[in-house]
Subunit: 378 residues, 2 copies
């Protein structure tokens, strides 16, 4: 598989490169260099490309957590949240067969990281790394990868996408950042397809940052929705100790829906996109809360969800819904301190209404996406 | 019935007032004064408002044609098109019972205007005029109204909405422009409900201009989507000699749709809104063409439609779909001359594929909406 882009060439992350650079040193408007729309066409092969030389002996990358669906944006909209996500350290390793990758270590996320396979063909980070190596036509260098999970598995915060995004960016940057963001999304999508289903609403924002609308898959067509930087948007993310397997959450959805519900949800999807682009926080919250198709079927599967949403809105959140396939619940507000108060009330409501322990965090929008955080020159 | 607005007060058209002022003298960015979102609450009564004095003895107003649905924006999105629409002349008439309106004359639109009732309770313009008079609490003045149809009936170009919008604005301006745009939309909606169904996707853009998203009806919540003024957007509108009654077109729609079609259309609705706000003409066209829910059911009811769409796209249109409930077909392009070529080919395709005569016009976006075009002081 290989790719041609119908967009002016740009390197998604090439300006990030410098030894020991941290993400916080990035220019704040870096993301504005991204074109608004990305399209990929899989008709060409990349094997004709010359194999690039590695630029670093080792890189460390980070990819953020993501909130997919956002109510009426079911299966086509997601956004990245700042300051929580996964890290990948990637090294040139002469012990590893050239063109291959091994997973040396998986840490973090409590015991749940032990569930993850170290076979790169069955690990999100491994699959994405191999996919990018194939795109770049890497045949002479072997890599070893270490994954540090900052996100719990199956939380509805794009855990698998964060691993895949961090790995994809790490490989790309190690070899000089030749690939564009949309190509890395395709690599991540290959990983998502094997691990949690063929959907890009986590992997696209995990790689690109901000809000991303997935317009189509064939060809992959992504629309970056720039939220006005001057607006204060805070996500309250409340994660209960409860397993909500994506499979079960997907099975809860009907094969058909009422035309009237379709019209309603479509209009709310349009309103959601307008709210993001116009920086209308109240409108964003309203759209988030408006889903009549997916949330009504999934909420009953998360103990206490209805009460959690209710207290979030009562406490002043602009809107509230399930993050991804759950069980994390997401609310939005314009004030960090208020976000903490809302979060505390939601945690309490999870215990009262669902008998579930939960933890809350308040996060800003991540507008950068997956990035290099440090590197060691050769 | 009466209204309270949850938005900063503004008079939608009060700056338009001057004797013999034409719409072309309006400031080009006039519409930017509109707030992004309008909400109406019907819980208060207006009867407590003092009855306003008439400011003019006579006014003439214009309201533009509108394109509703726009593919995946079915039933919640519409836009106004420049230079074609209906005119209303409204006069203070001592012969008319105070608080009432009579329709003195209906002209234009060939023979089809003869189909229109002169009973104000059964005429779109009459209903809207009476509704605005009620909102303003007019009890001491009688009015006579003359309607000049610039739009054919049942064409899918918002003919009834244009009449209602022109009448609503005329009454409001005659009495000093006290009501806001969203209130006039409510008056027009009362008219639409009686004549063609309770939907605001024609009446809202006919009154407000530009693109308008109808977020909800209870309360009425409208989102103005500002298309970047520097972009060239042309609508190619091809109207065949064929009757496509709204009722029949509505009956063609299913009660339920596939979840997969819902997700697809919702994502295209989001993409459509993004394209409008970002001024992305290619993306707008693509969204217009993408409907998998409504157009596939309605297109077979318009003879030749498939071929018309095909040649429009082959001729370089960015996108093409049914305007409103049809039979007019709308295509978009960025060049007026090209628009005319596309229109000619579409007209030919209607004859070849559907045996229908058709006429084409190329129009820009109307960003002003219904307005006063002239007035005579008392």
């Amino acid at each position: 598989m290989a790719i041609s882009l119908h967009q002016p060439a740009f390197s998604a992350h090439s300006t990030f490169l410098s030894t020991n650079t941290t993400a916080t040193n990035l220019p704040p408007n870096h993301h504005l260099r991204l074109p608004l729309s990305f399209r990929c066409n899989l008709s060409l092969t990349s094997n004709s490309n010359p194999e690039p030389e590695p630029v670093y002996s080792s890189v460390k990358s980070f990819a953020p957590a993501t909130v997919a669906n956002l109510g009426p944006g079911f299966d086509f909209l997601g956004c990245a949240v700042d300051g929580v996500g996964d890290y990948v350290t990637l090294k040139i390793d002469p012990q590893v067969r050239p063109g291959d990758v091994t997973i040396s270590d998986i840490t973090g996320a409590g015991n749940s990281s032990k569930k993850l396979s170290k076979n790169p063909n069955w690990n999100c980070a491994g699959i994405a790394a191999l996919s990018v190596m194939k795109m770049l036509n890497i045949r002479s260098v072997g890599l070893s990868l270490s994954l540090e999970k900052g996100l719990p598995l199956g939380s509805g915060l794009g855990s698998s996408a964060a691993s895949a995004a961090a790995a994809a960016v790490a490989v790309n940057e190690l070899f000089g950042g030749k690939l564009q963001a949309s190509e890395l999304v395709l690599a991540g999508l290959e990983s998502e397809a094997k691990v949690s289903g063929y959907h890009a609403d986590n992997i696209a924002p995990a790689i690109m940052g901000g809000f991303v609308l997935i317009r189509s898959y064939e060809p992959l067509d992504l629309i970056r929705l720039n939220f006005p930087t001057e607006k204060n948007l805070f996500f309250v993310l409340v994660n209960p100790e409860f397993e909500a397997p994506t499979k079960k959450m997907r099975a809860a959805l009907p094969g058909e829906i009422l035309m009237s519900d379709h019209v309603w949800n479509s209009s709310q999807a349009g309103a959601l996109v307008a709210a993001v682009l116009q920086g209308d926080l109240v409108g964003l919250g309203k759209a988030l809360s408006s889903d009549r198709v997916v949330e009504p079927r999934r909420a009953p599967l998360i103990p206490g969800m209805d009460g959690v949403k209710k207290v979030a809105l009562e406490a002043g959140a602009f809107g509230c819904t399930i993050s991804g396939a759950g069980p994390t619940v997401v609310a939005v507000t314009d004030n960090e301190e208020k976000g903490r108060e809302i979060g505390e009330m939601m945690v309490e409501a999870f215990m009262v209404g669902g008998g579930l322990k939960a933890v809350a965090m308040v996060k800003k929008l991540d507008t950068v996406g997956a990035r290099l955080v440090s590197s060691i020159s050769r």
